[in-house]
């Protein structure tokens, strides 16, 4: 490119940046082209990667299952789980803003994109069930983020919410525990009230993040006990297959 044409291109760019107003900012990086900019889509949502057909983890395009699931350490009671983005960087920060910085309204800003994505990933359900939160944590936070996500999906897609899955035992924070402890920690932590409402239903079981899948699995066991038809886990974020981390980050 000649020097003159560099200047001309640069000047055009400059004019755009100087005078073009009213663009929605990216919720993740604060740059242009929101609500989630192409750079952040690439960085955290990896359209080039597949999702493990059992646990929802981000995996190589040509794979069907992640290594854990191939070794039968994946979810048993769930039909399948899928996760929208990689739980890292700006996307993790965004989820933290929702949960820990009292900004549940942020969920609404991604509602449309989330719904659009979800319908391409999962078969249509009869109803949506949110993973419940323990009352003492709910009391401190004032809201359940899984319910917030479920309720925007309901508005976007017109799928009814189904209440009745409850958390019955106080559990230690999952983050403090090892994987084995996490699975054990949750056994019997959930139960279903009004089981006839659930029987035969195809359900989207919604949570914000899945890491070990233990919470979803414990909920699914309680739902299986009341003869729910199919249970599809749906989360905003999950981990990424280990050997992909360098490529993914």
């Amino acid at each position: 490119m000649s020097k003159a044409s560099i200047i001309i291109n640069r000047t055009q760019e400059l004019l755009r940046s100087l005078w073009y107003k009213g663009e929605e900012v990216c919720l993740l990086c604060g740059g242009q082209d929101g609500p989630i900019c192409p750079t952040c889509i690439k960085e955290y949502f990896h359209p080039e990667l597949a999702r493990c057909q059992a646990c929802g983890k981000l995996i190589a395009r040509e794979s069907t299952y992640c290594r854990d699931c191939l070794e039968h350490r994946g979810p048993q009671a769930l039909t399948r789980v899928t996760a929208w983005g990689h739980y890292a960087g700006g996307w993790r920060d965004f989820i933290h803003r929702i949960k820990y910085q009292a900004q549940p309204r942020l969920v609404q800003k991604i509602a449309h994109l989330l719904a659009e994505w979800a319908v391409t990933q999962l078969p249509p359900p009869d109803s949506i069930v949110a993973v419940p939160m323990h009352p003492s944590r709910l009391a401190e936070r004032g809201f359940n983020q899984a319910e917030m996500i479920s309720s925007v999906l309901r508005w976007e897609l017109g799928i009814p919410l189904l209440n009745g899955l409850e958390r019955v035992l106080p559990t230690r924070s999952q983050a403090e525990l090892s994987r084995q402890e996490r699975l054990h920690n949750l056994t019997g932590a959930f139960k279903v009230r009004d089981q006839k409402n659930f029987s035969g239903h195809i359900i989207w079981l919604v949570d914000d993040v899945t890491t070990t899948g233990a919470t979803l699995e414990a909920c699914a066991q309680a739902l299986r006990a009341v003869e729910v038809g199919e249970i599809y886990g749906l989360c905003l974020a999950a981990g990424i297959e280990k050997n992909l981390v360098s490529a993914g980050d």
Binding site: I7, L14, S17, W19, Q103, R105, E140, R141, F143
Partner: protein, 571 residues
């Protein structure tokens, strides 16, 4: 933090996050000696954030009836229970620690402060304690009448208000307690919402060794005649019982900070608590060594950044205005530098913070080169204006030259823009460069890199760089800039203030852009000719039209020069 409504054995109703901790305060010894049947301590569960419980203010009998009238709270499973029983039922929630002993260090570091429960949690971490331990220490102070709990966002007569920053335009969201509000304005300090609580200390900051140290070290301070005159007026203001607010209106680069030192020394000598505050971190770090040099015997804690960090009491506190939001009625005298260095919205929060940090009857001196009209108007009416119109080197402020350029917003064929400006554009910059490095201001962050490349292509032999506030290499580049490594440096208004570059010349691109008001124009022009070695400097405003802001900026600069000349402060 959840609060419980507690009925003491005497029948009093109190709100408490730690009912168990409160017991000794409400069990009078004489009560037991009477031999009467002692009423149990009863606690209303569940716990609820303070913002939702404190407004249900009623005499004891009708509390449940009052709750029944609440929209959302009425559906809660309200239940009065014996504290002894709840201790087992709600472990870790209702129970206080075994030890009710005050932790001397924590109790001291909470003096004069205003901290949210999350900031107390951070304080706990810095002392290697559990959050509950610090919350309970704060609660002991509340019970002793030395502090108070307030909801971080509180219901007022009209709507809700953030108690940390005063914001009333809040983000509303549905919570299990009904409408909840999160404050968007002070978010950078951590969450403030109706779910959170703030501890407000009612003591003044500890003044250690007051009277033991020689405070008046400022005799070493060398002031110019202009500074001396202003310093005398500042001292007069601090000593007087008339005005509570004053403005030190100084020319850019006139050395306004030092002008405050004699008054600060006097106030400290009187046992008063003094705060130096500025909106920006770099200004604070610039002032810190100068302040320490002027008062070598004093410990001067510097509070900047967003962290709630440990606070060790000092004689004199230096803090960013964000950090000022973490003090409550703590200072007798506040020096607030660069009052206008914030957008309007933030300055509302800043004003609230400063008002809250000032002790009743305390005084504030605002320092600015470019005061905003509202402050000017208020202080003209109720306060005192002190002028410091001249720089150390007794030379006038450089007056900007307006150069017409094609209208940015209208140029369709963008390639022709530069060709229309050239060759005059390049030769004007080259002429500036003859006298010193050129700082080239652009209106937006996004145009920094673009202009850097355009200018590199015009001046291939020059050393050119650009930087903006979030540039990861910013610090290195600024060091190189101060060292004089660049011929030309492209910057946004972040470089407007406080930065002194030897021999700097100034060009402002698109000076008619709406982001530049008269104050930022004066500040940018003020980068030129600051030093004794290079007292003059050129300033060019490139603009399609001469806006009101450009005219006002030039008028202000001329006024300062006129004032200085009349006062005999210029050579």
């Amino acid at each position: 933090m959840l609060f419980y409504l507690v009925r003491t054995p005497k029948g009093e109703l109190v709100l408490s996050p730690f009912p168990e901790l409160d017991k000794p305060y409400f069990e009078g010894g004489s009560f037991k000696e009477d031999g009467k049947n002692i009423e149990p301590y009863t606690v209303l569960t569940p716990g609820v954030p303070l913002a939702y419980l404190e407004t249900v203010a009623v005499p004891s009998e009708s509390i449940l009836r009052a709750l029944a009238r609440e929209d959302v709270l009425k559906s809660f499973p309200w239940h009065w229970g014996d504290l002894e029983y709840l201790k087992d039922y709600l472990p870790g929630v209702v129970v206080g620690p075994e030890s009710r002993e005050p932790n001397v260090e924590i109790v001291k570091s909470l003096r004069g402060r205003k901290l949210t429960e999350d900031e107390l949690r951070m304080l706990a971490t810095s002392y290697g304690l559990k959050p509950e331990e610090v919350w309970q220490q704060a609660h002991l102070l509340v019970r002793a009448g030395l502090g108070e709990w307030v909801p971080a966002v509180r219901r007022e007569r009209k709507g809700w208000r953030c108690q940390r920053c005063g914001e009333s335009e809040l983000e509303e969201w549905p919570s299990i307690y009904g409408a909840a509000f999160t404050c968007p304005s002070c978010r950078s300090l951590g969450t403030s919402s109706t779910l959170k609580v703030i501890y407000r200390d009612l003591r003044t900051p500890a003044r250690e060794n007051f009277g033991l140290r020689s405070l008046n070290k400022t005799s070493d301070l060398v002031l110019t005649p202009a500074q001396e005159k202003a310093a005398g007026q500042v001292l007069e203001f601090v000593q007087s019982t008339l005005e509570s607010e004053a403005l030190l209106w100084a020319a850019c680069g006139a050395g306004k900070t030092e002008v405050c030192f004699p008054a600060a020394a006097w106030a400290l000598g009187q046992g008063k608590s003094v705060l130096f505050a500025a909106p920006r971190q770099d200004v604070i770090h610039d002032v810190a060594p100068r302040l320490q040099q002027a008062f070598p015997d004093l410990s001067i804690p510097v509070l900047s950044g967003a962290s709630a960090a440990k606070f060790s009491a000092g004689d004199l506190v230096l803090a960013t205005t964000h950090q000022v939001l973490r003090f409550y009625q703590a200072f007798d005298l506040i020096f607030l530098d660069e009052l206008d260095a914030f957008p309007y919205r933030d300055s509302r929060m800043l004003q609230w913070g400063v008002t809250q940090a000032l002790r009743p009857g305390g005084k504030i001196l605002f320092l600015s080169a470019t005061p905003d009209p509202a402050t000017l108007k208020r202080i003209r009416k109720e306060g005192k204006i002190i002028r410091l119109p001249a720089r150390h080197h007794r030379r006038p402020l450089p007056v900007p030259v307006f150069k017409k350029m094609p209208d940015w917003s209208r140029v369709k064929d963008s390639g022709s823009l530069l060709s229309k400006m050239q060759p005059g554009f390049g030769s004007m910059l080259a002429a500036l460069r003859e006298h010193g490095p050129v700082i080239f201001f652009v209106p937006k962050i996004s145009s920094v890199n673009v202009w850097t490349e355009i200018l590199k292509s015009i001046f291939p032999g020059w050393s050119i760089a650009g930087s903006y506030s979030r540039d990861p290499e910013r610090l290195d580049k600024l060091v190189a800039l101060r060292r004089g490594d660049f011929d030309l440096f492209v910057a946004t208004s972040i470089l407007e203030r406080g930065v002194t570059i030897e021999g700097a010349q100034v060009a402002v691109m698109a000076a008619d852009h709406p982001v530049f008001d008269e104050r930022s124009l004066v500040q940018m022009a003020g980068r030129a000719g600051r030093t004794r070695a290079n007292p003059s400097g050129g300033v060019i405003f490139f603009a399609a039209r001469e806006t009101a802001a450009i005219r006002t900026a030039v008028r202000w600069i001329n006024e300062q020069n006129e004032l200085a000349r009349t006062a005999g402060l210029l050579d």
